[in-house]
């Protein structure tokens, strides 16, 4: 900026020094400012306005706090789902004879008395069970039956005695 211009500007400022706005100018100043600002904003397309509003809304909050809420809600939902599955889909205990198979563990000579049972009931011998009766290699509850052919013997001998 050269010296001429500086002098000119100084002179103009000096002349403007006594100029005053019309009465009531500052009373309406804020309202007029907002009106003009709104007019400027409304010149943009609607989608741009929405994006800006959303961005302003998000950044008005703490972003880290906002991200923790969905995670917490998801965790609670997953826990609730797991608990409800365990409660409502637990298998009902089967009331069949083989559930009493722990008798297999009774050693020989421990119980020499006859019990109240059918004369054709299954008897237990001093054999070691290879299979856990409560589990099966082909256990399933689908619509098709279990086609039986074992891959291990039901029992085998543990000692040479006769």
């Amino acid at each position: 900026m050269d010296e001429f211009n500086d002098n000119e500007i100084t002179k103009l400022l000096r002349l403007k020094r006594y100029e005053q706005p019309p009465p009531g100018y500052f009373d309406n100043f804020l309202h007029e400012f907002h009106r003009r600002q709104r007019n400027e904003l409304l010149r943009q397309p609607l989608w741009r306005i929405c994006v800006d509003r959303a961005r302003d809304f998000v950044f008005a909050f703490n972003l880290g706090t906002l991200t923790s809420y969905p995670a917490a809600v998801t965790a609670v939902l997953v826990c609730a789902a797991v608990i409800s599955l365990r409660i409502y889909q637990a298998p009902t205990p089967a009331s069949v004879a083989a559930q009493n198979r722990p008798v297999l563990a009774v050693p020989a000579n421990e119980n020499d008395e006859w019990s109240l049972a059918s004369p054709v009931a299954t008897r237990v011998f001093n054999t070691r069970s290879l299979r856990n009766i409560t589990e099966s290699a082909q256990t399933h509850r689908s619509g098709t039956p279990r086609y039986v052919l074992d891959s291990v013997p039901v029992s085998y001998e543990t000692t040479f005695k006769f």
């Binding site: 069949v96 019990s115 008897r123 399933h140 039986v148 074992d150 039901v154 000692t159 005695k161 006769f162």
Partner: protein
């Protein structure tokens, strides 16, 4: 000219026909023995299948794992049938599919030691003749008939591959037949037949890929005999434990290490250190032989036992007692449709009318 051309065309075709005929004839001549053997085998298997298939049935039941399906076969005309323990041993609502109809069946006996079950359906049934598995040899051809998966009655052809007392270090209760044929799921309890159509074993479980194990029919018949006599299996024992001796005596390495007090063996006078030579009809060479003999002992029956004590050979007549573990019954509640027998012990009060 035309005739000449036709005769010219006929010449090569005749030569081709003659050469083809000669090749076919020579091929037939080369393949005749094998083809005849194959045809003969096929005919025999087909014959066994047609004769015996009628007595083989599909068994459906329910156990704690859900529905199951296996195979069984009739051994008497009143509907008694053998199957595997895994099929009929722990199951309920047993049904036998025979001639397109399903008949209810009940369990007569189930034996976890041998791995078989005896069932009964109230119907007039064809029967399979009982063979002799002791006459089997390695490579004897055998046939099984079973119900694999949800398929129809199916024959399988194989051969005897061995007579095993143990597998992977585990001892069977008695010698088992190892059969080289490829069983499929659903064939548990199927009969193993010789080419005469006689049952020589009961298919119990598969072994690796192309083999299976079968219980010899003599072992099953021992249990059926027990059932007929006593209403239950009655394995016998005399009360000794046996181990392998460091040196054989009279060809036997089975030496008694313990004679349990109060048992028939103790009362008869057997002592630790006696070398066992024979139990009943079974000659003993190794301790494993006692398993075979023990399986066929029946409680209450007298059995001759030959031993060596020092330089003296002795034979005892010993009445076998009930196998100790047999006295512990399975504490299973009887099914609802069965009568509950009362156990009238000495302390029970007598009922008076």
């Amino acid at each position: 000219m035309r005739r000449l051309s036709s005769s010219r065309a006929l010449g090569p075709s005749l030569a081709t026909f003659a050469s083809s005929f000669a090749a076919l004839a020579s091929l037939c001549a080369q393949q005749t023995p094998d083809s005849q053997n194959t045809i003969a085998f096929s005919r025999e298997v087909k014959d066994v299948f047609e004769r015996c298939g009628k007595a083989v049935v599909k068994i459906e039941a329910t156990d704690q794992h859900g529905d199951l399906s296996g195979t069984g076969f009739f051994v008497d005309p009143t509907g008694t049938l053998y199957t595997a323990f895994s099929v009929g041993g722990e199951a309920e609502n047993i049904k036998v599919e025979f001639k397109g109809r399903k008949y209810p069946a009940r369990q007569l006996m189930a034996d976890v030691r041998s791995g078989i079950a005896l069932l009964k359906a109230d119907l007039a049934s064809p029967t399979l003749p009982i063979g002799n598995s002791e006459q089997l040899e390695i490579a004897t051809p055998v046939v099984t008939i079973g119900y694999p998966l949800d398929l129809a009655e199916t024959p399988s052809f194989g051969m005897i591959a061995g007579f095993d007392r143990k597998c992977f270090g585990n001892y069977f209760p008695t010698k088992h037949l190892r059969v080289n044929l490829q069983p499929q799921r659903g064939e548990g309890g199927a009969p193993v037949l010789n080419l005469k159509g006689e049952v020589v074993g009961i298919l119990l479980y598969s072994f690796e890929n192309n083999s299976c194990y079968a219980l010899p029919i003599e072992a099953a018949e021992k249990l059926r005999s027990d059932y007929v006599r006593f209403g239950e299996p009655r394995y016998g024992w005399i009360g000794t434990n046996v181990q392998e001796a460091s040196a054989p005596v009279e060809g036997s390495r089975a030496v008694t290490t313990e004679v349990i007090k109060g048992t028939p063996a103790a009362e008869a006078g057997l002592e630790p250190g006696d070398v066992v030579l024979q139990i009943g009809r079974t000659k003993v060479h190794e301790p494993e032989d006692t398993l075979e003999a023990s399986f066929f002992l029946t409680a209450g029956d007298a059995v001759p036992i030959t031993i060596v004590r020092g330089n003296e050979k002795m034979t005892f007549q010993i009445q076998a007692d009930l196998y100790p573990a047999s006295k512990t019954r399975l504490a299973a509640p009887p099914p609802l449709n069965r009568a509950i027998p009362l156990n009238l012990e000495a302390s029970a009060p007598e009922r008076t009318p």
